[in-house]
Amino acid sequence: MTRALSVISAGPSVTVQDLGRTGFLAFGLSRGGAVDRLAIAEGAALLGQPVTHAALEMAGMGAVFEAHEDLRIALTGAPMRAQIDGQPLVWHASHLLPKGARLSIGPAISGVYGYLHLGGGIDSPRLLGAPSAHLTAGLGKAIKAGDTLPLAADDATRVGQVLDVADRFSGGTLRVVPSLQTGLFAQEQRDLFGSSSFVRDTRGNRMGVRMACDGPGFAVEGGLNVVSEVIVPGDIQVTGDGTPFVLLAESQTTGGYPRIGTVLPCDLPLAGQAPAGARIGFRFVDLAEAIDLERKFRLHIEGVPRQLEPLIRDPALMRDLMSYNFISGVTDGKTEA
């Protein structure tokens, strides 16, 4: 029988995601893939499998699943309330989901996008070279109750690993590199942008998130008549009413609203994970610093497998671990060990 996971119920925005698809920009299709690409790397490390394996991305709210056989799972990204048959699970960790057991993943405690990784990866059909859903483009569908997710073979057995993950789930400062249209904004506009405090608006999805601020907003002379130009994930688009949007995985590939800068790839997980109401700031860095930060980010991702710690499985400690997790958004396996 094919390995599979049944979906008993699902939140409104649960999709299969991976690192997306490249090569279709010229046809107007953006890369897509997981909003929090670091979470994909963390899940791969926890299960000891390639970073290319597809996982489930859950926006704000999880889902309930039933295993057809013993499965390895890992939970990453925005911490959510998770249980196996009523037993609380540590987030940022790998676990065994026994045959017939029910995995319940509830609302996000902090952050937005939680991820469920499965040993072997989700083996759903590929469209234009990748299994990930790109709902803005009409590729794939959100997961719903009654669905069965096919899983690829899993020859590994290790579970019970945990990662000490720095908080990227409650807003913060996003580092920005000047981009092709930054010069359209007057210097005082750029200075104001760098010194203003923003709040992640309730309006946000995989295309982008609105960052609201007090004051008149930002504008360029003739901004509504700028020729449409190339857009990349991380671009900060200023729409007609002066409010910036940070564009994410499912961004459009071109657009006419001027962009004041581009959020660095290493800060995009934080941008995407900031929940509604979280405080956001922007800080310009020059290209040399941005490249240096990108180098460090890639080294960090490469090093994630070396940061694994054994998960304490003593049920008496479980409650303490969970409460620690809820308060800080970070599970520190070392403290408990």
């Binding site: 107007g28 803005t136 009409g138 930054t182 190339v230 007609g240 009413d241 290209l287």
Partner: protein
């Protein structure tokens, strides 16, 4: 060629600018023009031969390329791009081969395309004149972008040099024909937009499950013939939405 400060207004072309940390944009003019559009398409094709480039695309007047700045430093990539730029006058390039002329049935105005009157007013003409102007215009696909398979088409007559709206329209449906800055966009997905929704077609431009997922290509031309809502309703079962096409030249 120049690498002027980001966004410099008195720049000379071709102009090379950074896009984020891993992209370069080569622009062939300050505003939309046919030579700049042809140059962007031809230069993208030529970039295929340059080492270290991971992906390319075009916008209306620019060629975009993505590379890994940890493998190829920006200065090196810029040098490679500049070396290719000086090999010819790219604005003199021909349009791509295999172009086609599409005739796409379109309902103007009515509740299917509720911003026709508003757009006509901004363009300084009556709604009737707007339909006549838009349905007679023969426009060219200048680039595919924003959403999968979605064309920017132009150029419309001067009167249609109208700005985008201040605020986004939350949703326009697939097949919507929208207008701004002497251009039309025919939407391939349901999406928010800042352009005004003046026409509605039944054409599906993105067909991910088919052998040709993307129907239109840069260089193709189109005429959006006016039809009644009843006529369009009958075309809805056809993925081409009643559109027909023929090879050009």
């Amino acid at each position: 060629m120049n690498s002027a400060p980001q966004g410099s207004e008195c720049a000379e072309f071709p102009l090379i600018r950074n896009v984020g940390i891993d992209g370069l944009l080569v622009s062939f003019g300050p505003s939309l023009s046919e030579p700049a559009n042809r140059a962007a398409l031809a230069f993208r094709a030529a970039l295929e031969a340059v080492d270290g480039i991971e992906e390319t695309s075009t916008s209306l007047i620019s060629t975009y390329l993505r590379f890994d700045p940890l493998k190829v430093p920006h200065t090196d990539m810029q040098t490679r791009v500049e070396a290719l730029l000086v090999t010819r006058d790219w604005t003199g390039a021909d349009l791509p081969e295999g172009r086609r002329l599409f005739r796409i049935p379109t309902v103007y105005g009515t509740k299917l395309a509720p911003q026709l009157s508003e757009a006509a007013q901004v363009a300084g003409m009556s709604a009737e004149d707007a339909v006549s102007s838009l349905s007679q215009a023969r426009v060219r696909v200048q680039t595919i972008g924003f959403a999968p398979g979605q064309p920017y088409l132009g150029a419309l007559p001067e009167a249609w040099d109208i700005p985008r709206q201040q605020a986004l329209t939350p949703v326009v449906p697939l097949g919507a024909l929208v207008v701004a800055i002497r251009q039309l966009v025919l939407f391939s997905v349901t999406t928010p937009t800042g352009w005004r929704h003046v026409g509605q077609t039944a054409m599906r431009l993105f067909r991910p499950e088919s052998d040709t997922p993307f129907v239109l290509r840069p260089g193709d031309e189109a005429i959006f013939d006016a039809v009644t809502p009843e006529a369009l309703e009958r075309m809805k079962t056809d993925p081409d939405g009643g559109a027909t096409w023929e090879a050009l030249r």
